[in-house]
Symmetry: D2
Subunit: 133 residues, 4 copies
Amino acid sequence: MEKDVKKVAEVEIRVRYAETDPMGYLHHSNYFTYFEIGRTELLRQQGLSYRDIESRGQFIVVVKIQCKFSRPARYDDLLTLRTRLTRVTRARIEHHYEIFCDDILLAESDSTLACVDQNGEIQPVPEEFSSIF
Amino acid sequence: MEKDVKKVAEVEIRVRYAETDPMGYLHHSNYFTYFEIGRTELLRQQGLSYRDIESRGQFIVVVKIQCKFSRPARYDDLLTLRTRLTRVTRARIEHHYEIFCDDILLAESDSTLACVDQNGEIQPVPEEFSSIF
Amino acid sequence: MEKDVKKVAEVEIRVRYAETDPMGYLHHSNYFTYFEIGRTELLRQQGLSYRDIESRGQFIVVVKIQCKFSRPARYDDLLTLRTRLTRVTRARIEHHYEIFCDDILLAESDSTLACVDQNGEIQPVPEEFSSIF
Amino acid sequence: MEKDVKKVAEVEIRVRYAETDPMGYLHHSNYFTYFEIGRTELLRQQGLSYRDIESRGQFIVVVKIQCKFSRPARYDDLLTLRTRLTRVTRARIEHHYEIFCDDILLAESDSTLACVDQNGEIQPVPEEFSSIF
């Protein structure tokens, strides 16, 4: 129960003017930046940090990501991003993301991450992730 | 034959410093901006332009996108982006993208686009796309 | 007194991974995006919004901006941005910005804004700004 | 004569959709990214590269930058960026930038750079710059 709660982080993100496009919509490339914020906050609520992982010479890279956009977000909208750790194996970390505005789902995404060292060689997933899971 | 050629555009993109991250890699969110450049150039080689489509009050939005990242790109790398129009229906436009550096495939992506008017209402796909296809 | 307080807004901004560069530093172009957040929040604390101004067909554009960078910010740093409205004339709006991390000044900036309509024609500064000032 | 020519680089940059804002204008923060492209190309035309400088553990940081925006750029505009090395001292590198669209000046900027090592300690300006100057 409690363990499950730990796997989800919610963070509020306000859409910046520079992130919107001539339609007045949040440009789709920025959602992927938001998802990264979600991953950072999910670790932080465990008292862990990506910065510490990187300072050990381990880097988390995105191997695969997909996103489905249902409705647009606009400048100054206050969005809620829900990030869930869905699967951790020895070599892969999977997250699911949902972005809401006023409880309406705008976008949904899934990502697969891996860990590499400074030379780009694949490393085992840091224990920070398995400990959450 | 000739028709098929029209459906593919190749464009060179040099990785900017501001687009790379502490690993020294092109940040994954920027690939989606690159794919958009590919779509723009694919239309341009037909003598068409997104800007003209927008000036008629038609906006092309990304409905779904996925990307698989195989190898990193680095600052100042000169990348080749190959964009292919793979399917056009009355309501959807599908593209496939491949990004290469020195003939090595770095990333592959598929997107589904739709057309909306200024109020976000779904519109038929502009004839520019069916004419290519 | 009270009036003076109204002219300053403080907002916290956490540095995103995608905003940092191979040095591990917040890329300097992102400071200008942060300053825009400061302007938005300064208006908001008056109960006003840029979005409303834009919906009336008035657009605020940057005419001139300068920034001095003293120390770097890093990924995941929690920064404090202090935005001050320093001068409002009939045609110009001036702000001063300071960015701190742990009470250490990282950067300082000054900007001059103007107001244009949808055709880019110069307009008088919206009353929202003179009312703050 | 020839020496003077070496100090100026011209590069064409096409405005990306993701870089424009709800006004349909190139967002001002992106100009600073463009100027960085200009600096990269100015070095490249000497057969030199920032990437090589960085691989020696020397990093070029922006100490001060200012920009004056006269006219907007729009999505798909093909801009010409002219970058000039204006001054090199033992500790500072100064550039001047002009951005044109169809020979009309849109923006003008000046920057001051310094060189630091991986710990952020100030270093002498790399000889690459004095050799140009």
